[in-house]
């Protein structure tokens, strides 16, 4: 019997003594990924005007791309001819693709979900109805060739109260997982991650996890959150999932990327995050800082000769003032590039600070100081207080 070398290995390098936070190293076909990691989103095979050369220099180890968009344009044929997305976009770091299911439901009003898959009105004029089945999603993701790929899941909005429908989605997601695994062509180079569903129902989440952990996979994703639910509900589900999922595999929380959420969810034991926010917001002139974001369009920055963040060592903070950025923001594309550089470096720096503090035993202090800086009057939102208390981090 020949054993296929696993396309993913996960080593835990350190743990927080109090919370569930941990530092790990995922090794993938395109290099290592230090966790907890934030993955910037390059939806259409590019990250908002950044050259991959720049991303590499910043220390980005993994990028996310969207299956729905890439399957539409440039399409499977061209991706295959290009030899996969890594080659097409000149990125030799790691890639992760979603399944396309989320876009179906969020972007397309007329999506209809059946056992077969997600049926939707195509944006393409030639075909009026298209079916994204688990098989088709994996076919596209195999063509893209990302190091981590996602199963197609049956996405239900977290704000839908119909428990019967949610229960159906939990079971269907598992059935679709098996169909995805069955047709997956590249198990030696691409890792398929199941997605835990069940929205805000703890009992359904437990069922979903119990089913998924029986499958031979290298990591898990928590889906169906970050969709408008209250934060008090959100953290409890994350907390439950990280308790029940196996400790020796990476856990990916989909669609989460605000600084506060990254800190809290790292404390809850999540290893991977993604979110369009840091890069999308740059286009509108918003720059991220440890104490919140600043909108450089505001008049007050017209004569502000400081960098965005004096503690940031990105090229934008080293070379440009807020006043300079103010004058070109939302007017010249380079302004978007400059702020994107800062925002991506900001996310990377935050994650590195989290990892370093876990490794040197100061994570609790880091979280306390981080939250205090944002809430200097100690008026902490309940979900932050509750979630951190649940993992033994008392706020100051």
């Amino acid at each position: 019997m020949t054993t296929i070398k696993s396309p993913l290995s996960f080593a835990i390098l350190g743990k927080c003594g109090s919370s569930k936070a941990r530092v790990g190293k995922i090794t993938l076909p395109h290099g290592p990924v230090d966790t907890p990691v934030f993955m910037p989103v390059g939806t259409q095979g590019t990250l908002k005007g950044m050259l991959p050369e720049q991303l590499k220099a910043m220390g980005v180890q993994i990028l996310l791309a969207n299956t729905y968009h890439l399957g539409t344009r440039p399409g499977v044929d061209i991706l295959l001819k290009a030899g996969g997305l890594h080659k097409f976009m000149n990125w030799d770091g790691n890639l992760l693709t979603d399944s396309g299911g989320f876009q179906m439901v969020s972007l397309l009003k007329l999506a209809e979900i059946t056992e077969q898959g997600v049926k939707f009105e195509s944006l393409n004029e030639q075909k009026d109805q298209v079916m994204l089945s688990p098989e088709h999603s994996i076919e596209i993701q195999n063509a893209i060739g990302a190091d981590i790929i996602m199963q197609l899941d049956d996405v239900v909005k977290t704000t839908v109260p119909d428990k019967e429908r949610i229960e159906e989605s939990v079971h269907r997601t598992t059935r679709w997982l098996d169909r995805c695994i069955k047709v997956h062509q590249n198990p030696s180079t691409q890792n398929i991650f199941p997605i835990v569903q069940g929205t805000l129902y703890q009992d359904l989440r437990k069922i979903s996890i119990a089913d998924h952990i029986k499958r031979d996979v290298n990591g898990f994703a928590i889906g169906g959150l970050s969709g408008g639910e209250s934060k008090d509900d959100f953290w409890k589900i994350v907390h439950l999932c990280t308790d029940l999922l196996p400790k020796n595999k990476p856990i990916y929380l989909m669609g989460v990327g605000f600084a506060t959420d990254l800190v809290v969810c790292s404390a809850l034991g999540v290893d991977m995050f993604d979110c369009v926010f840091p890069t999308r917001t740059a286009r509108f002139g918003c720059a991220l800082t440890m104490v919140g974001q600043i909108n450089l369009k505001k008049k007050q920055y017209a004569t502000d000769l400081q960098p965005i963040d004096k503690d940031c060592d990105c090229s934008t903070c080293k070379n440009y003032t807020r006043a300079y950025l103010h004058g070109i923001v939302t007017d010249l594309p380079v302004a978007c590039h400059l702020i994107t550089v800062h925002n991506v470096v900001f996310q990377l720096r935050l994650m590195k600070t989290i990892r370093d503090s876990i490794l040197n035993g100061t994570f609790v202090e880091f979280v306390q100081q981080f939250m205090l800086a944002i809430h200097p009057d100690r008026d902490y939102p309940t979900w932050i207080k509750d979630s951190l208390t649940a993992v033994n981090i008392p706020l100051l």
């Binding site: 259409q44 095979g45 590019t46 990250l47 908002k48 005007g49 950044m50 050259l51 991959p52 050369e53 720049q54 968009h69 344009r73 440039p74 044929d77 061209i78 001819k81 290009a82 097409f88 976009m89 000149n90 017209a302 004569t303 000769l305 090229s315 070379n319 440009y320 003032t321 006043a323 300079y324 103010h326 004058g327 070109i328 007017d331 010249l332 594309p333 380079v334 978007c336 590039h337 400059l338 550089v341």
Partner: protein, 409 residues
């Protein structure tokens, strides 16, 4: 900063050198030279950090006042030079009034004032506030305020008004310059106005000649109103004026021209004796999704003069824009990828095209300098001319096939 002509001939193509630059004594730039056209100090689509991936050579940024006007308040408080303010402290800078890549609005004249159109609307500049701006920006080189609002179709009245304004601006700006401590090292370029009228050009030259000791270069202004149409100007139209003005200029002074001149006309202008250009042509190319692919060196393979990457035929073309090109874009990215980026309106598409175009243009200017040195500029001109001719034939074919298709429908 000093300009020295290295070749002896007066009018014909010549090599020169900009050196002894205050604060950058080790830098020496050879002419004919292309200033890097910028908006607010940035080549469109390219941050200074990306520019470092394109070229490590010292370069000269052309900074239009129209793109800096909204920084008035900030610059007032800022204690540094414009190069630092725009985030590129190692660059040399040349300040000019208008953005050569944008078509100027004509008219809107006031006595002793020139209108510019910023993103917040019309602003009038006169010698005083222009020199205030230049003093704040502290560039290495600047072009004196002028009335350049003339073109091939301008009336005599407009042309003589332009000369009158330009002469008066020159007088006042130079008075200010002489008193300015901050500008004592700045290289001064005086625009010559007068449209397409030799008599007016003569008049302008004569009226400006008393100030000659205070200027280091001249700009042949007033040939066009900037913007994409400059590419289409036929050289035979501008030649008489350019040749006339150059024949009257002191040979030791730098000669500048601005605008989106086509590469072929750039060669012809070099042949007439122009020393300094800008890269605004790269912007208009990039905005129309075109990448330069004309062969620069003898024996270089090239299938066309330029390619439009938006065209569907590139969707599965996995070659680089130009096979032997060493730019960052051609080293790592295919036409198909750039086509994809353009189709889905992603910013990186324009970034990659601009990276290539700037790189190609800088290579082209290096070739011009080498050709002048080796007395082979004619060869380069013939090569580029042949490729442009092909482009025009191709365009006509396309147009006629389009026409016949439309008529059959």
């Amino acid at each position: 900063m000093k300009f020295n002509v290295k070749t002896v001939l007066q009018r014909s193509p010549r090599l020169g050198e900009l050196s002894q630059i205050a604060g950058k004594l080790d830098v020496c730039l050879e002419t004919p030279l292309a200033l890097l056209h910028t908006q607010a100090g940035h080549i469109p689509h390219i941050t200074h950090e990306v520019l470092k991936l394109v070229t490590q050579e010292p370069h000269f940024l052309q900074i239009p006042v129209v793109s800096m006007h909204n920084y008035l308040e900030a610059i007032h408080l800022y204690d540094g030079r414009v190069a630092d303010f725009v985030g590129s402290k190692d660059s040399l800078t040349c300040v000019t009034l208008n953005d050569p890549s944008n078509l100027m609005k004509q008219g809107h004249h006031n006595k002793d004032k020139v209108p510019i159109f910023t993103k917040r609307g019309k602003v009038l500049y006169d010698s005083e506030n222009y020199m205030d701006m230049v003093e704040k920006l502290r560039p290495d080189m600047y072009i004196i305020l002028s009335d350049g609002d003339t073109n091939m179709t301008s009336s005599n009245k407009r042309v003589s008004k332009a000369v009158e304004n330009t002469v008066s601006f020159n007088q006042r700006c130079i008075e200010r310059h002489k008193k300015s401590e901050k500008l004592k090292d700045a290289f001064v370029i005086a625009p010559i106005a007068g449209g397409y009228c030799v008599k007016s050009r003569k008049q302008c030259l004569e009226l400006l000649s008393p100030n000659e000791p205070d200027v280091q270069g001249y700009l042949i202004d007033g040939l066009h109103n900037n913007g994409p149409e400059v590419e289409l100007i036929s050289f035979s139209e501008v030649k008489p004026i350019v040749d006339y003005v150059i024949s009257k200029l002191p040979p030791g002074k730098l000669r500048a021209i601005q605008g989106c001149w086509s590469p072929l006309n750039i060669i012809k202008l070099v042949n007439s004796g122009i020393d300094i250009f800008d890269t605004s042509y790269c912007r208009i190319l990039t905005e129309r999704s075109a990448a330069l692919t004309f062969a620069i060196d003898a024996g270089e393979a090239s299938e066309s003069y330029e390619i439009n990457l938006r065209h569907g035929k590139f969707s599965e073309d996995f070659q680089p824009v130009l096979k032997e090109c060493k730019c960052v874009a051609c080293q790592g990215y295919s036409r198909a990828y750039i086509h994809h980026l353009l189709t889905v309106q992603e910013l990186l598409g324009s970034v990659l095209i601009m990276v290539h175009n700037i790189h190609h243009m800088l290579r082209f200017f290096q070739k011009i300098r080498d050709s002048v040195r080796e007395d082979k500029l004619n060869e380069l001109e013939d090569r580029v001319a042949a490729q442009i001719k092909l482009l025009h034939c191709h365009k006509e074919q396309l147009a006629s096939s389009e026409l016949s298709r439309n008529s059959t429908e």
